[in-house]
């Protein structure tokens, strides 16, 4: 982002009438100019109604405590009624999955999946993750510029996902592809320009996984996600759309978010060399640094809820049926709860206290797995004293949901 557009964005954010602020425009995320708009909302109207946007009317909830209040009140704020992202799709066009379900169905399906990312299983995965991290780091080119997103962030998270699904390892980049397709908001001029095209590709994903499902259902239950879904009483009779929905959930959940934390971490360290020095001097700070990276990145900028009845949030009257957006990306910069929130500080007092994983019954089930991958990556990077030089600005993706990067140019001295 150029300094000029940063300055322009700030001027616009301060001068535009409050009721015309629309923080949902994906371009503002792509050029990283959304911050002053959130700043103004937090200051002047923390719960804000936008009556007109490309996603229709919606409420923005921008402060930490108000977001927590909505996230933990699942009886009023439904994940199922309108889905969990700002853009609406008709009910018949959605892929149902448990992140977008309310109790009791959500609870059953979540319980089926969660053992794979529970502490006992993570301990088993640690050695495998470490060996994969080492192999990736040791194979990086020297003396030439490469894309960190492609060579490290995507590679590492895709390998992890292939392991969780026990997916044919050589074909693992299919997972990356489907993840990208699933989070695409079709727009003219983009490779995927229509919902039909997106659905057609996701149908291929379903067909592929149905093959794996059939293979696993005829074997004894194993400890991979497909086998677990195929054998558990609460998921084994899922219809195809629901199967696909849950696949997408696991692919996107385990993929984009961690990927963008891996990229973000390197970018933040390169912009804050003093923090990197601190970390090099004291690797015991890595776990706290990992939490700080995840807060500072906020890999999912928002989650959406739909009010089932009238409710009051931050003093505002929300009506039954209204669309409510919890902007985690803004709440993570709320100075009432987080000290110096705009600074990247790896040894904060309460680094785990952030909104990036959400709160309440939908709180991220994969949070400890994500942290584990980042911790190991940083341990091995420090161990190798890798002198990574970020040689240009990152390219960001045009999305108000997945807050991430498509490229970060990096060079290791020859």
């Amino acid at each position: 982002m150029s300094t000029l557009s940063r300055v322009q964005a700030r001027e616009e954010a301060l001068s535009i009438p409050l009721d015309r602020i629309d923080v949902s425009n994906p371009k503002r995320f792509q050029d990283d100019t959304v911050w002053p708009f959130f700043e103004r909302l937090r200051r002047e109207e923390p719960v804000h109604y936008c009556s007109d946007s490309m996603f229709g009317p919606y409420w923005s909830v921008t402060k930490y405590r108000d977001i927590m209040a909505v996230d933990t009140n699942h009886n009023v704020f439904s994940s199922e009624a309108g889905g969990i992202v700002i853009f609406d799709r008709k009910v018949g066009e959605r892929y149902p999955n448990f992140i977008a379900m309310d109790p009791p169905k959500h609870d059953e399906q979540r319980k089926t999946v969660s053992p794979i990312v529970a502490p006992a299983n993570l301990a088993n995965l640690e050695g495998l993750i470490r060996s994969r991290v080492c192999a990736i780091l040791d194979s990086l080119p020297r003396g030439e510029t490469f894309n960190w997103v492609e060579q490290v962030s995507i590679e590492l998270t895709t390998q992890m996902l292939a392991t969780l699904f026990d997916f044919p390892f050589e074909e693992r980049r299919l997972l990356t592809y489907w993840s990208d397709v699933a989070t695409t908001f079709p727009q003219p001029g983009q490779p995927i320009d229509t919902w039909e095209k997106r659905d057609a590709i996701l149908a291929e994903c379903l067909a592929y996984f149905t093959g794996l499902w059939n293979e696993r259902i005829n074997k004894a239950p194993g400890y991979d996600l497909i086998s677990m879904l195929a054998h558990s009483p609460s998921t084994r009779n899922m219809g195809p759309r629901e199967f696909l929905g849950n696949l997408i959930l696991l692919i996107v959940g385990g993929n984009d978010t961690t990927r963008n934390s891996i990229t973000g971490g390197l970018w933040f360290m390169s912009q804050n060399r003093d923090q990197l020095q601190k970390l090099r001097g004291c690797p015991a700070l890595i776990p706290g640094a990992v939490s700080e990276i995840i807060r500072y990145q906020t890999p999912l900028a928002h989650m959406r809820r739909t009010a089932l009845r009238d409710a009051t949030v931050g003093g505002k009257q929300i009506k039954a049926g209204d669309k409510v957006i919890m902007w985690y990306i803004s709440g993570n910069r709320d100075s009432e709860v987080i000290e110096s929130p705009d600074s990247f500080i790896i040894d904060r007092k309460n680094p785990r206290q952030h909104l990036s994983f959400g709160f309440g019954i939908h709180r991220c089930v994969g949070n400890r797995l994500a942290e584990l991958q980042l911790r190991i990556l940083w341990e091995e990077m420090l161990e190798r004293r890798l002198d990574l030089e970020v040689v240009g600005d990152p390219e960001r993706v045009p999305s108000n949901f997945v807050h991430g990067y498509s490229a970060l140019p990096v060079r290791i001295a020859a």
Binding site: M68, A118, P119, N350, R352, G360
Partner: protein, 106 residues
């Protein structure tokens, strides 16, 4: 000051004095007792302060609230004696309370 015995997953014990009114979660965090994360800062919103209350103390610590029960429902390896440590506030009647930690918080 009431005391708490924390027992780590591996069996190591910590004996901590805490001012009355402190939650069991906060006591662990303030004293760097490993095994309790407390990600939400005690708002009953994250489930990462899961402990097993020693059966003899269970009646004195009260009962789970609805939202506590919902979160424990998703925690790994929950038992009858599972509680969220942020929902237990120390007072003199709990002096000597004994809690064990699970393998991990998640």
């Amino acid at each position: 000051m009431p005391r708490i015995h924390f027992v780590e997953f591996g069996g190591r014990e910590h004996l901590i004095d805490v001012p009355a009114g402190t939650s069991v979660m906060q006591a662990a965090i303030d004293n760097h007792v490993p095994g309790i994360d407390g990600d939400c800062g005690g708002e009953c919103a994250c489930g990462t302060c899961h402990v097993y209350v020693d059966p003899t103390w269970l009646p004195k610590t009260g009962t789970r609230t609805t939202s506590e029960d919902e979160l424990l429902n998703f925690a790994a390896a929950t038992q009858e004696s599972s509680r969220l440590a942020c929902q237990i506030r120390m007072d003199d009647t709990l002096d000597g309370l004994r809690v064990r930690m699970p393998e991990g918080q998640h």
